[in-house]
Amino acid sequence: MISEPYDQEAGQAFRSILREAMRRRSAFKEAVLPKIHIGMSTCGIASGALETKNAFETALNECGLSALIHSIGCIGHCYAEPVVIVERPGFPPILYYKVTPGKARMIVKSYLAEGDPLFEHLLGAMEENDLIPSVMDFPRFSRETRVITEKCGRIDPEDIYEYLAEGGYAALAGVLGRNPDHIIREITESGLRGRGGAGFPTGQKWMLARNADAGQKAIICNADEGDPGAYMDRTILESNPYQILEGMAICAYAVGARKGTIYIRAEYPLAVKILRCAVEQARVLGFLGKSILGTSFGLEIDLFEGSGAFVCGEETALIQSIQGDRGMPRHRPPYPAQKGLWNQPTVINNVKTFALVPTILAQGAAWFKSIGTETSPGTAIFSVVGSVVHPGLVEIPTGVTLKALILDICGGIPNKKRFKAVQIGGPSGGCLPEELLATPIDFDSLTEAGAMMGSGGMVVMDEDTCMVDVARYFLDFTQKESCGKCTFCRIGTFHLLRILERITRGEGREGDLEQLEELSIQIKEGSLCGFGKTAPNPVLTSLRYFRKEYEAHIREKRCPSGMCRALTAYYIDLEKCARGCDACVGSCPVEAIFTTEDRKKAVDQSLCVKCGECMVSCPVEYSAVKKVSPPHLAPVILRPVEKEAKKNA
């Protein structure tokens, strides 16, 4: 365990910075003013956090009140954004959800001015008290174990002193001057496995780089989070960038690197901005730069903005990209830890891996190993989205089952629908069915089930989701994102996609499934890099668990969940349709709905684009719009004019 500074001078420098941090924190804490903490990450802003913040400021002005408005990162409860925590002297801190500008005004006027905490709008108190139920009463809060995201949503990501006051940089200060081997041993003993997806032991990777005989070494933080449906890395970068910088500094010290690069998606402008600010602040206080905390150890960190190529998440492609080339993976070995960026030994770790390092060193390997399972210790962080009641970021100890995560912690499936499948690991992962909900979440169990931990995207699907279409969707993605270097991935994924497209259009043939399987296995075996080797996983898992759905598409031209548009049709049940009502007419984007002779409505199948808007707009008391598959089940109703024409003919 590394809790005390080892190097005298570094310790002194650190303590003086820490004193300043604590002074600032007590000044904030002890201020008698109310404090309003607003989550200002991308999801918060997308949900209107900026407008909410403005509304608070205006309302405070109007009421002649003052309060401290504090921008914080994301607490991971995306369903509740914009999230606001209000501290009023004499009350526990209260978390309000979906705080629209209107709600913001109410909070100021009723709560801050008059002391009514507005029970109907709060989610709970942030600490136990006698007055207001605690958020800890909800499994969504109580069953999380926050290690990576411990400080996310508690500190201002643009103020390094807040990170310091929460215990930040103590691990780096403790490491300096110590024998690097001890640090790597601690990481190895903790059993930490890389959180980028493959789960390679981090300590082993570091040791490989440390032992490599080279003048210069490099470290890279892989923040090229490209999985559609995953945004954990972005949230961490936006909520607590310092933790990553600290983890990188420790790694650089341990392996003997003096240069670090953060490869971050250009599609994350806010994260880039916050990270730049953090690097600058860390440099000013001496946590980065030529001489860190006055010691002889120095580290410079550069940001490299990725230009949108999913394959650059693969480490050798990422290196090509930084070097200014097309991001095409190369054969391994040599591994980057032996020969990486500019041919230097290079440690590449994911955002979450680096973020875990300071905590592991501060709390000790034994502590970390005590969390989660034996073979994948620690926590896993998932962005659980799709058909769940409480989507967002969830951090849980490994070993928790899928069932507990989806049905208990995230509140299960909304709208009384049935759970159908969960897609884990993005385009490289797989879809697991209800029967496998008891699978514990760890690297090995998920791989065994045919999915993959991946970087942590989890999309929950209900009965309305077609698994053939989901497989087609992922293949469409991988096929577009394939770098095109090797034969199997370039041409093989293209054929997989074409076959899947045919099946979802109702043009599937006998033999297609066998061919899908055969091609998939060949692509897995023959491809050059991890991207190609895992690309067929969505096809293989859906074939394994949902073969019947494929067969219905091919043999009956029927999409059981009614999602494949070529295989479905909408029609209006004339028995149920209300004469004179035209709610559906306006909703139709293509004017496919016409009035029948007895002033009811019908769908012109030749125009219908099957967007389903009419079904949404039809008043529930009628529920006259029906969806059927195969499409020939829809009754044919002709327009009055067509009828006329037919009669005349």
Binding site: A309, R326, R330, H331, Q479, K480, E481, S482, C483, G484, K485, C486, T487, F488, R490, I491, G492, T493, F494, H495, R498, Q515, L519, Q522, E525, G526, S527, L528
Partner: protein, 215 residues
Amino acid sequence: MGNMVKLIVDGTELEVEEGTVLLDACLDHGIYIPHLCHLKGMEQPPASCRLCFVSIEGIAHPVPSCTLTVREGMVVQTDTNAVRGLQISALRLLLSVHDVDCAHCPANKKCALQKIAKFLHIGLKAKGLEIYLKEPRVVQDHPLIDYYPNRCVLCGRCIRVCRAQNGLPLMSFAKRGFDTVISFYGAASTLGCKTCFACLKICPVGAITLKTPNS
């Protein structure tokens, strides 16, 4: 001459110089392994054509022989079922996007695809796969050379020899994934081409040809 190492390929003992690429060692000793992207003496193998697989004792899956250097005591098999299976499927994939019109192709009878297909005892048909050809069929941007995307196997050998000849390559891969092509971008305006035609000579499939008056 460096140290020599002994290895066994298909039951025959070979003695080759340490550091030799396994594929080269086999080819030099008359053991044919299908390949497209390999160029002797290259520093880092692209390993992109996925044809030169071999089985190595002690390694579960077939490995491209261009990525390995010979080791003392290495036991190699070039014709296991797994190896042949991968080679046949790679070739079929290549053929599924190949304009099989040998009669009108300058590479006819010396084409690497023909040779490999013959070696693997399969026809020039992509059995079971739909054929997909790109548009346009011929790219005529270069003042002297025409490029046929539907013949090209994207081995990249032309790019590498062009770089070797000129210092700067005058051709490059462009676009990505399935749409990847060889591009002579900028060649028309700068005309840096030294007309060495090294690219044309190295092309295994006739994808790069001299401009003909009626092409």
